[in-house]
């Protein structure tokens, strides 16, 4: 595989790459195509719209259920991400750098939770959250999201933390900084890229969730967009919901596309360095 690879080899690789790209993009392009189809062509089965319209997008913003769900999704995902990343950073720093009892247990617990079947928690959490008033509230979803994001955060971050030049921390300690000061003023800035990558992965995880959202919410107070889409019945009772669902689906995909386009390298590094599951 040298730079002087023959032209036909390049053509071969181009074809293979094209297949991979089509594999990844066709289902996405299909939902985009549906979202731009007019009401009378939406059922024509054509991959490319015969006539284009923005009306599906205009329509979904008139559905209160969807606008509130979008607000809930954004708010819940951002809050969960911030909390999980802060708590995860603290734990990962301790795991990567400090010597203390119970470290092994914490790593073991994170691993168990990464493998935990979430459906097993749905029945008990439903009952507990109803009893303590967390059912159908933001914190009622944020708590399980943080829990299942933490193993991802801890593993990714501790992998990043092992790459940091620790002599700098020692130097800071020699200059009289306490371990906490060393953590805050030396390590945090160095660790920022890893923390940022982890935040992206955690956000994608929270944004993606459906099982907890569909089980632990019931009204527009906390229902997220994934649930709202699954319950679309159309803008009016006579309207076909396909166009609305497609437009809402495309909107939910936009943040993912932005992350992937701008932070491809980071996401790959984060996933392969220590990730469990996004």
């Amino acid at each position: 595989m040298t730079a002087t690879a023959p032209a036909n080899k390049k053509v071969g690789w181009s074809v293979i790459n094209l297949i991979v790209i089509l594999y990844a993009l066709i289902p996405v392009l299909w939902i985009v195509s549906l979202s731009f189809k007019t009401a009378d062509t939406i059922s024509d089965g054509n991959f490319i719209p015969r006539s284009w319209t923005w009306s599906n997008y205009a329509q979904i913003f008139q559905i209160d259920l969807f606008t509130s769900a979008l607000r809930n999704s954004i708010g819940i995902a951002i809050i969960s991400t911030v909390i999980a990343v802060v708590i995860g950073t603290m734990a990962a720093y301790a795991i990567a750098r400090l010597d203390f009892p119970g470290k092994k247990a914490l790593v073991g617990v994170s691993l168990l939770i990464a493998m935990f079947p979430q459906i097993s928690l749905v029945s008990p959490l439903f009952d507990i959250e109803r009893a303590v008033g967390l059912f159908d509230t933001w914190p009622g979803l944020i708590l399980p999201y943080i829990t299942f994001a933490l193993p991802l955060a801890i593993y990714t971050l501790s992998a990043f933390f092992r790459e940091i030049p620790w002599e700098l921390e020692k130097a800071a300690k020699m200059d009289g900084a306490t371990p906490l000061q060393a953590f805050r003023s030396v390590i945090v800035p160095l660790a920022a890229p890893g923390v940022f990558t982890t935040a992206i992965l955690v956000f994608i995880f929270c944004w993606n969730d459906f099982l907890f959202a569909v089980s632990l919410t019931s009204t527009s107070r906390s229902q997220t967009a994934t649930v709202a889409i699954s319950q679309f019945t159309g803008a009016s009772q006579f309207a076909e919901p396909t166009g609305s669902i497609a437009a809402a689906a495309v909107l939910l995909t936009i943040p993912i596309i932005i992350f992937v386009l701008f932070f491809q390298r980071r996401i790959v590094a984060g996933l392969t360095s220590g990730a469990v599951k996004g």
Binding site: G45, S110, S123, P151, I256
Partner: protein
């Protein structure tokens, strides 16, 4: 879980031998370090345990009761009768069988496709960045969104894929064809994740070794099966373990594609339906506990396969 064993080994060797003795009284600095370590980990540990351990124990307790949300007054201790009811029901075994089929078939296909994709991304001489970017889209896309794309694609008259089938066929309403579509949706979404994990393993295979083998006359297939795959074994096992456990939890795709109708429901679907359609917390909790046990058994099986390279044993080296 972490794939870079280099950092691991480094961390192990760094440890000063003084700790091991354990007899020497801890210095002030050491004590402060231990305190800081515990404080930094406490929030993560408390949340993870509070949101998983307590509910699963509560689920075990609920599963021993007759607890129907429609008749809350009749709540009473019922022993193992909920488990008896679930395990003697055809629904549970049907859902279990469907879940196993979906898990095994999709993970097998994902492994083959993922390995191919990893080799492509690792070796390609053109468009490497573009390919790596594009394959992240299935990984990142919301499962519900992707499921709708497949659902519309296979809906008669509406979908581009259904249009390729003969008239009058409705693949989402037949058991076999619907399961095939569920597997397709799972495979499409998670193959890139599998490929990325495998690519990390692929990066550990030294190029010199492959070149030497080539000089010695090993063909591409021999190089793959005799050198690349054996050297990638730890990465392969990690990828298979996480994908298997993940596939076993399949829910979103089925919920959108078929709602579990026509015998396509997984165990997760069954647990959900028992809670939200039958309103039976006792039976629902028994199903939760059984799924938990099934997942634990799968994990144990893999960890036995892993042997020393099990992720669970890794922290010992990382201390």
């Amino acid at each position: 879980m972490t794939l870079d064993s280099g950092a691991l080994a480094e961390a192990t060797t760094k440890e000063p031998p003084a700790h091991r003795a354990g007899k020497i009284p801890l210095s002030e600095g050491k004590k402060a370090e231990r305190r800081l370590g515990l404080w930094l980990c406490a929030p993560a540990a408390i949340i993870m345990v509070a949101v998983t351990a307590y509910p699963i124990i509560y689920a075990i307790w609920l599963s021993l009761q007759r607890y129907d949300l429609r008749f809350p007054a009749e709540r009473e201790f019922a022993g193992l009768s909920n488990y008896g009811a679930v395990l003697s029901s055809g629904y549970w075994w049907q859902a279990f069988l469907i879940t196993v089929i979906i898990t095994v078939v999709s993970v097998a296909i994902e492994f083959v496709l993922g390995l191919a994709l990893a080799l492509v991304m690792h070796r390609t001489i053109v468009g490497r960045g573009l390919t790596r970017t594009v394959v992240l889209i299935p990984y990142g896309i919301v499962t519900v969104v992707a499921a709708f794309s497949w659902q519309f694609a296979w809906t008669p008259d509406k979908g581009y894929l259904a249009a390729m089938l003969s008239d009058g066929s409705a693949p989402l309403t037949g058991q076999t064809s619907a399961i095939a579509i569920i597997i397709l949706a799972e495979v499409w979404k998670t193959t890139p994740f599998m490929a990325l994990l495998l690519m990390a393993g692929l990066a550990l295979v030294p190029d010199d070794l492959l070149k030497a083998a080539q000089v010695d006359g090993a063909g591409p297939w021999q190089r793959l099966t005799q050198i690349i795959l054996p050297m990638m074994k730890p990465a392969i096992l990690v990828a298979l373990l996480f994908r298997t456990l993940d596939a076993f939890r399949v829910f979103d795709n089925i919920y959108i594609l078929t709602q579990g109708s026509n015998g396509t429901g997984s165990v997760s679907m069954l647990g959900y339906d028992n809670l939200f359609k039958a309103f039976n917390l006792g039976i629902g909790s028994a199903i939760s506990v059984l799924i938990f046990i099934a997942v634990a058994l799968i994990a144990l099986l893999f960890i036995k396969l892993f042997g020393a390279s099990a992720p669970g044993s890794e922290p010992a080296g990382k201390r």
